[in-house]
Symmetry: C2
Subunit: 456 residues, 2 copies
């Protein structure tokens, strides 16, 4: 226990240094969606490779993929101990709309207890915390477990290279379980562990009408406006009860049972507090479920983007040639993204008038995941959270999607522990993304305790 105590003492005395180091990582705009940021992606991967070298990994390198490199690292000096594969992603979402940020997204800024920057919560802060925990333990002598790292640069674009990479490197990545840091807890005083994730099916729908943009005066009234048709198609995808209308959409969904609804209700989050967090005038959703049930346990269909015609300042009297919507479904674990695509295609084929044409493109997909709450690594994570935060974590379903959990289950046959320290109001993917620093520092301690727990 002396080593554990010393590691924790080290962590507590280095908060300022951590903040400074994390700032340099966050300043690199590793936006994977935009091709102009490829050099930044590379610099970020190199930063992490070097950091992993510094904390004693015996191998740390960039491994190529068709797009952005994987950072792989390992230390295997504890024979007989479990091998933990740490998963994370070093890419971030685009920062737009830029004008809604109170400080520039890639100039990390502390305000109050929080650090504001794109990617600080999702998830450079989490990777950083995990590496600093390993550093604190390494400084006390030998690490308590074998470690491997797989850090990808394509998570925010749907991980196009991940499946093939894992498939091609099964031996290299072999492990006892995965520590996935792409997660969070419910509140600074409410630790939690996620045992279910929603899947994702993301599409781009294009409706085309005239061969080119037309003058709305000369041609208006004689051809079907593709923006109007797109609106009609999107409008038809929900009914008045907030349910998705695609035929068969709910067929595979397993209803939440009473025990699960009780677990979800343990989170002391009121609708008022949730509404305040979103800034929306009122909450909304599928009839028959509480807000937290909707977010964790029910599938959705969202419009992520719309564009057609003239969108500049002022007026342009154009009848647009085409209209485009980005649409995505969050799926419960039982739903199959491929089946959702078929349902959407079927809906479009049935409901699109022949005055326009349509094209549906799948941009990314991944199944949801359900994890065993009683597996040993999950129990170890629960204990570490309890020791640091002073209470039993809430077990909960998560509304977001982490496809890699399902992929690692399938390809390597291993379960993941989701342990990270974001908070629900971190504004990830939006402007003013933040990380609550006291929670992040407690997170480092939690990672220390979690790994040290395998010492015995």
């Amino acid at each position: 226990m002396a080593a554990l105590d010393a590691a924790l003492t080290h962590v507590r005395s280095h908060h300022d240094a951590y903040l400074e180091q994390l700032t340099t990582l966050l300043a690199i705009p590793s936006v994977s969606t935009l091709s102009e940021h490829r050099p930044d992606i590379l610099r970020t991967a190199e930063w992490l490779r070097d950091a992993l070298n510094c904390v004693g990994m015996t191998r740390a390198e960039l491994m190529p993929t068709p797009l952005h490199p994987m950072v792989y690292a390992e230390w295997l000096g504890a024979p007989g101990k479990p091998t933990v594969l740490v998963y994370g992603h070093y890419d971030v979402q685009p920062a737009d709309p830029l004008d809604e940020w109170d400080s520039p997204p890639f100039e990390p800024t502390v305000r109050g207890d929080c650090l504001y920057a794109r990617g600080v919560s999702d998830m450079k802060g989490q990777i950083f915390a995990q590496i600093k925990a390993v550093e604190a333990l390494a400084l006390q002598g030998k690490l308590p477990v074998n470690l491997k790292y797989l850090l990808e640069g394509e998570e925010e674009i749907g991980s196009p290279s991940l499946d093939a990479f894992i498939e091609a490197h099964r031996d290299l990545l072999a492990c006892d379980f995965v520590l996935n840091c792409d997660s969070g807890i419910l509140a600074p005083d409410l630790p939690s562990l996620v045992y279910a994730l929603r899947g994702l099916a993301y599409f781009e729908l294009e409706v085309r009408g005239p061969g080119k943009d037309l003058h709305s005066g000369l041609f208006g009234g004689s051809v079907h406006n593709p923006a109007q048709v797109l609106c009609e198609l999107v409008a038809g995808m929900h009914d008045a009860d907030g349910r998705v209308t695609l035929p068969g959409f709910y067929d595979a969904v397993v209803p939440l049972d009473d025990e699960e609804r009780r677990q979800i209700a343990r989170w002391p989050m009121t609708d008022d507090a949730w509404r305040a967090m979103t800034g929306a005038p009122r909450l909304w959703g599928e009839a028959g479920y509480t807000t937290l049930e909707r977010v964790g346990g029910r599938p959705t269909l969202e419009v992520n983007g719309l564009v057609s015609g003239f969108i500049g300042e002022g007026a342009k009297t154009v009848l647009p040639a085409r209209a485009l919507a980005k649409l995505s479904c969050r799926l419960v674990p039982e739903q199959d993204p491929a089946a959702i695509k078929s349902m959407l295609e079927h809906y479009l084929a049935e409901n699109t008038p022949n005055t326009v044409t349509w094209r549906l493109r799948e941009l990314s997909h991944g199944p949801g995941a359900l994890m065993d709450r009683h597996a040993a690594p999950v129990r170890a994570a629960a204990k570490a959270l309890k020791d640091v935060f002073g209470m039993e974590p809430v077990f909960r379903r998560e509304g977001g999607s982490i496809p890699v959990v399902g992929v690692l289950q399938e390809k390597l046959g291993v379960e993941s522990v989701l342990l990270g320290f974001g908070l629900p109001d971190d504004s990830i993917h939006g402007p003013n993304e933040k990380q609550h620093l006291p929670t992040l520092f407690k997170g480092i301690e939690t990672y220390v305790r979690f790994l040290a727990g395998f010492q015995a």
Copy 2:
């Protein structure tokens, strides 16, 4: 008649010079919507002022407005003859989408019989033709009529300064009738005169939901997506028969009578040819009317633009904070744009759920116009067209809007003759805008004959 013949001979021998001069005018990107083009607006106004000086105007100057200057010019050396106020606009629509142009919009390019450039048909080509007609007549001696010019730089943004300018300069602009060159004919072999114009009411509708863009996984299913709500609102604005559903929308519309429907049917334009011109898979519109009746004689509601959330390449799982639509109605002459705004506000108040907020902003408006087909200047224009094109022009309704016609009627008590030489397939407001050059050169001859007709 010797002067007329000499003027026509002059025109016929200067086609190449005209093309060269017009090219320099078109190369200036006088886009009034975009503030970065203010210097180009000014250069264009100066170009026209100088051209009007060169053809013998005794006064030609820029007159300031709160935004873009008016070009005013006059020659009043024919006492006893009518005074004609030539109206035109020297601003142009934005050129986007730029990647759909086959040659750059501000590098005028001849392909076949046509000149391609933004603004060549709408309407720098028409102003140019009118000035060249005056030049040809002036070279033969005294002009047959008194001339005034009012060329504005704000037509494509709804002429915000025009009403007040006309109101403040009634004496300066006093005239017997207006020659409005912002028009066209039906085909190179089918001259026509427009006697009715549609009005316009252009709006921007914004729907706001969450206070900022949210992560669609963490929050999806708990707040109403404003892009979805916008789509539902827009979708509700038309019924299955293509009619606008806003209560009261058709109340003021005077039905087309049989004589008018017969006039409209004189244009030998088939649905197939119209469809080919638009490039749409099929035609569409309000049930119970022919295509040409819809375009000329029926009001419409169009989506001119849509934007919400993430519209870049790839996928971003955002639940957008807001969604925006540009919407405009083309109105028949009896409809009042202010009443349309009230109807739209009423519809939005009745149909927007309280999970979001909305805001409607009027960007521009103008009433339609109905003109007397038997007035002397209109008959003179008809004779000039017949003399040049060899057949009686078709009298027709126009789908576009020229609000200045109504404004001049109201403020100066004068009628307008719409005489211009664009063609329906010129792609004005869209990519690859063009002007058919043989028609433009005939246009110069028509303007010569029209003005010379007042000699007697």
